[in-house]
Structure formats: C-alpha cells, structure tokens
C-alpha cells in the first residue's frame, strides 16, 4: 500500500496534475467563500471541464474544489456572519464573535489549520480504514438514522444561549419549516397554500442567509444609529500561536475523527458533522462557558469536523459505490465518465487511480493550508471596510446567494422574510441556530422515524432492540444531561 501511495503522490506532482489540483483548491476556496455557491455546485459546474482529462487529473481537480469549498465557507462565516456553505453555519458562533473582538486573523488562521487537520486525518483514515468504515456504515438503517438525527437535535441545548426552552422552541419552529412542502413519504403537499414554489419546501441556503446574514445586517443598521457612523472595525494581524494550537489539538483530532465517521454515513453531510463536532467539543471542554463568545475551540471543532467529511464521504463511494453525500454523488458520476466502476474491485483493478486520488487529497489539504494562511491578511481586510459599506455588501451578497441556487426570485423573498424573522428573534433573545439545525435534521428525522415505525409494524421497539440506536439514546441523554448541568453551574 505504501508503494502505491508513493506512486500516487508522484503522479500528483506531475506537470499535468499539480496545476489542476492547485486551480481546483484555489477555485474551491473562492466558491466556498461566496454565499450561494456550495461545494456541490462548484464540483457540478466544473465537472464538464474534466471530460477531456485523464482519470487522476480529473479526480484531483474535483476533490481539490471539494476540499477548498468546504474550507472556504468559513471565511465569509467568520468575517461577515454569512456562511458561504451550510457546512460553515456552526463556525459563525465563535468566528464572528472573535472578529467583533478584533481577532479576525486569529479566527481565520484557526479555521484554516483546523480544516487542514480535519481533511488530513480523514484522508489518512480513508486510506487505511476504508473497508472497516464501510462495513460500519452499512449497519445503518432507518432506526439508526432517526436516532442520529435525534442525537443531532440534542445539540440545541448547547447552542441555546440563556434559555434552553427558547432554544428548543426555535428548534420546533425549524422542524415545522422543514415539514413545509411535499411529504417525503406520501408526497402530500403540506402547508404550501397552493404555492408551487413551496412544493419542494424551503431551500436551506436562503433560510440560512436570511437568519444569519440579513438579520445581522438589520441589527448592524440599527446599531449605526447609536455608534454614530461608519467607523471601520479594528483588527490585529496576530494569527493563532503554537501554544494555542497545542491546546486545541485534541479538539481538532477528535472532531476530525467524528467528521470522518459522520461522512462515512450516507446522507449525513458536512453541515451535520460541523454541528455534532461543535457540541461534542463544548460538552467536553473545560472552557465550555466561553463557547459562543469567541473561543478558538468553537472554530476548531466545526471546521475540523466539516473537513473531516471530505475523506469520510469517499469511503462508501470507493469501497461500495454508494456516495456519502451530494459531492460524492457527483464524483461517482465523474468516476463512471472516466470508465471506472466504484466498488471493492476498484482498489485492485485501478489502484493507480485510487492512490492518485488519495495523493491528491493529501496534497490538496496542504495546498489549502498554504493558500488559506497566505490569504489571511487579504481576507481580514474585509473587516476593515466601513460598516456603512459592509451592510449593503452583505445584503447584495444575500440576494445573489439566495437567488443563484435555484435561479428563483422566490428564494430572495424567503431570505428576506427569514431575515426579518431572525431580526425579531434576536430582539426577543431567541437563538436562530436551532432553527437551522432542525431544518437540516428535520427531514432526516421524519422520514426515518416513519420508515422505522413501518418496518416494525407500528411498534417503537426499534428504540431499545438495536444496539446502535441504544448507543445513540445514551449519547443523547448524556449530551442533554451534561449541557443542563453546565448551564446550572453557569
């Protein structure tokens, strides 16, 4: 295996592959940083450009975009409170808080290094543990998916701010929003009021943009009155120190492993991994009270978690031919276009391509680290733009971001409606993040709960008769219990 990996790395450093990988990573960072352009969209849009390339070059470019875009989403999440991709939603909490404290460079460097760690650990796990991880993922059925979603929803307790009740109320609002549109099991239109645009339900991107970006722009508009003008925020150029890095290393490694495991499970993507990692880091941290107010662990965990998915999502794709997430599904298409059949035989019949891909992932993560660190001074300048200009810029980016997913003006309306809702919620001290979390996990919870009950002919016994569901119940109780205890102490 080591010799094959060396051959793979050699092919990545060839004149044909390396420039394409570099372009892929750099382009991916740009795509991810722009609200509305997701990793999936980036890989899909640039897929046709790979048709004329050989297999290793094509796959290197696509995974480069994937790695870069998942990281890039954190840049706008940290600087503008506008997550470039849903995967960066959890990075907003502490990233933006650090920017407000004048530590934009430190926040950006933390996110870059955590993303690199997440990507690197997951790639190493992909290379070494693929068959074992794929077998684990195969044991997931409807009851396990339902309990994974429930476990994810317990995170609400941790991100609720002052009042857990208000947090869970916001969560139920998110679940209601998730239930709008065609019923996933019977296709019956729910709460659509005859509106065709609502048949597919609310698209996550406009809701995310509305709740985080538009609402923040409205809050800043209100603050402009009291702050008397257009003063730019001050930011220092200090990046994260070695001492700080060492202190968050365990969190990064744990989140990277968590992200990889979540990535392996088909259907559970980088957004879920980021939230789960954030909650786990908060639950187990000694500085848990500092989460949400701008702490490094709060950036390291979701970023290592979401980039951990990049390797994890490829495990079922390469070993079983089952894509772990939407990007992996496009990569499946790319493999087929290249005349390759994903599955166990891929490793024996097309080993140079597989190990070339592994090599591209390793080098791609290093490129992401270098580009990210070199770009910090440039990215951080955004914070120094006067607020008077930042507010219209955020609002225009919100329009483009919400429109471009489906070319729909309705989505722009949705973003602004949720912007107003988010603004009112901020005023009433009701957290917005549980809405997003519930919107992401709601469809997964509903579909799999109903499937599980049907599987067990109306019985709920799947909750206590399946080992993985029992493990998730225990984890959920533990997560809730520790959060409640923590809040009581605070």
């Amino acid at each position: 295996m080591f010799a094959l990996l060396m051959d793979g790395l050699r092919s990545v450093f060839s004149l044909q592959v390396f420039p394409t990988l570099f372009l892929g990573v750099a382009g991916g960072i740009g795509i991810g940083a722009l609200p509305g352009l997701t990793a999936t969209m980036g890989v899909a849009v640039l897929l046709p450009f790979t048709f004329g390339m050989n297999s290793v070059t094509a796959l290197s470019m696509l995974v480069g975009i994937y790695i870069g875009a998942i990281y890039g989403g954190s840049i706008s999440a940290i600087l503008l409170k506008t997550p470039g991709t849903p995967a960066a939603a959890a990075t907003v909490f502490d990233g933006y808080a650090m920017v407000q404290k004048g530590q934009a460079s430190k926040a950006l460097s933390m996110s870059t290094i955590a993303s690199f760690t997440g990507g690197l650990v997951s790639t190493i796990m992909l290379i070494t543990l693929s068959p074992v991880l794929a077998n684990f993922a195969l044991r997931f059925s409807a009851p396990e998916y339902f309990m994974l979603a429930v476990f994810g929803l317990t995170i609400i307790a941790g991100i609720s701010g002052k009042s857990i009740v208000k947090g869970f109320l916001a969560g139920t609002l998110g679940l209601f929003i998730a239930s709008v549109g065609l019923d996933p099991v019977t296709s019956y239109p729910r709460f659509t009021f005859g509106n065709i645009d609502l048949l597919n339900g609310f698209n996550i991107i406009p809701v995310l943009i509305g709740l985080f970006a538009v609402s923040e722009a409205l809050v800043q508009t209100e603050k402009l009155l009291s702050e008397a003008g257009a003063a730019a925020r001050i930011t220092d150029s200090k990046i994260v120190s070695l001492k700080e890095l060492i202190s968050v290393l365990p969190t990064m490694l744990k989140s990277a492993v968590l992200g990889t495991f979540i990535g392996v499970i088909p259907g559970a993507g980088a957004d879920i991994a980021a939230f789960v990692s954030y909650n786990e880091a908060k639950r187990s941290s000694k500085k848990r009270d500092e989460f949400g107010s701008g702490c490094l662990e709060g950036i390291a965990a979701p970023e290592a978690g979401n980039n951990g998915v990049t390797g994890g999502a490829l495990v079922p794709l390469l070993t079983l031919g089952v894509p772990g997430d939407a990007v992996a599904a496009i990569l499946l298409g790319a493999l087929i276009i290249q005349g390759l059949a994903p599955g166990p035989l891929l490793f024996t019949q097309n080993a140079p391509v597989v190990y070339g891909l592994f090599g591209a992932m390793l080098v791609g993560n290093v490129l992401m680290l270098l580009l990210g660190l070199l770009g910090i001074r440039f990215f951080a300048k955004i914070v120094q733009v006067p607020k008077l200009l930042i507010i219209p810029i955020i609002l225009v980016l919100s329009v483009v971001g919400s429109y471009s997913m489906n070319n729909s003006i309705f989505d722009v309306v949705v973003a602004f409606a949720f912007g107003v809702i988010g603004y009112v919620l901020i005023k009433a001290e009701i957290p917005q993040s549980p809405i997003v979390l519930a919107l992401i996990l709601g469809p997964m919870a509903e579909t799999n709960l109903r499937k599980a009950i049907l599987m067990y002919e109306g019985s709920w016994s799947f909750l206590w008769t399946r080992p993985i569901t029992v493990a998730f119940i225990l984890l959920s109780v533990l997560s809730l219990f520790t959060t409640l205890r923590m809040k009581k102490k605070a």
């Binding site: 508009t221 709960l449 049907l454």
Partner: protein, 154 residues
Amino acid sequence: MRTVNILAAAVFFALSLFIFVGTLFFKQTLISDQFLGAHFFPRLVAAVMAALSLVLLFQQLLPQSRSDRSRISDIFNRSMAKPAAVVALFCVYVPLLGILGFFLSTTALFSALLAVLGNRRKAFFLVGPLFTALIEFIFVILFRVQLPGGIVGF
C-alpha cells in the same frame, strides 16, 4: 424580558395551534391507519411546541421572574425605524429585480441603502455599480450562474 417572553410563548402557542388545525385538513393517505400519514410529524412538532410554550409561560410566572419590570417597548421601539426602511426598500427591490435585471436594480438598491444608512461620502456611491459589476462578472461570466436579466438582459 419577562413581557417579551410571555408574548413569545403566546406566539409559539398560537403557531402550534395553527399547525395542528392545518393538519386536520390533510387528506388521509393509505398508511394513515397507522397514524403515519402526512399529518404525523407536524402534529408531533405542534404538540412539542405547545408544551414548550406553556413551559416558557410558566417560567415567567415564577417569583424570580416577577421582579422583571421590562416592557415590550424597551426592545421593540423607534430604533427599529432604519431596519424597517431597509426592509421597505427590499419590498420595492424584489419586484424590480425581475423587470430591470440584476445590475440596474442592485446598483439602485445599493445607492438607496447608502442613503437610508445616512452616507454623506460621495465616493461610497461609486462602490454600488462597481461591486455589482464584480458580482455579475464572477457569477455570470466566470461560473456561468444565471442572475436575473430583466428587460436589458443583465
């Protein structure tokens, strides 16, 4: 915050009633005899929402919350005029987006927002068309992502 919390509890309770009543009008499906039709999940959500809003209301009746003398006007007041003006601008902008296209309508919106926010520096008004053109270039030319064309086509 006590009064706001009571109001929030009332709003969420009303929403839960709305969700529950809404599900009464769902047509029954073949699997409805196992309570697993389209109404199953929204009703579950409505029940949890109603219960949580009652808990929030109950919390406000506890002695430690009663000392809170804050009023709704402490939070929702005149300072919301500018955000309201921004929202009003968007109510005009969205219909114009389809008619005038992205470039013209967004340039106008950018300038209008600067005016509403109280900008007095003329140079800032140049940022609108430049930024909009940059966005148009990145999305339409570089990534071939469509933006509303309107009557002028861009």
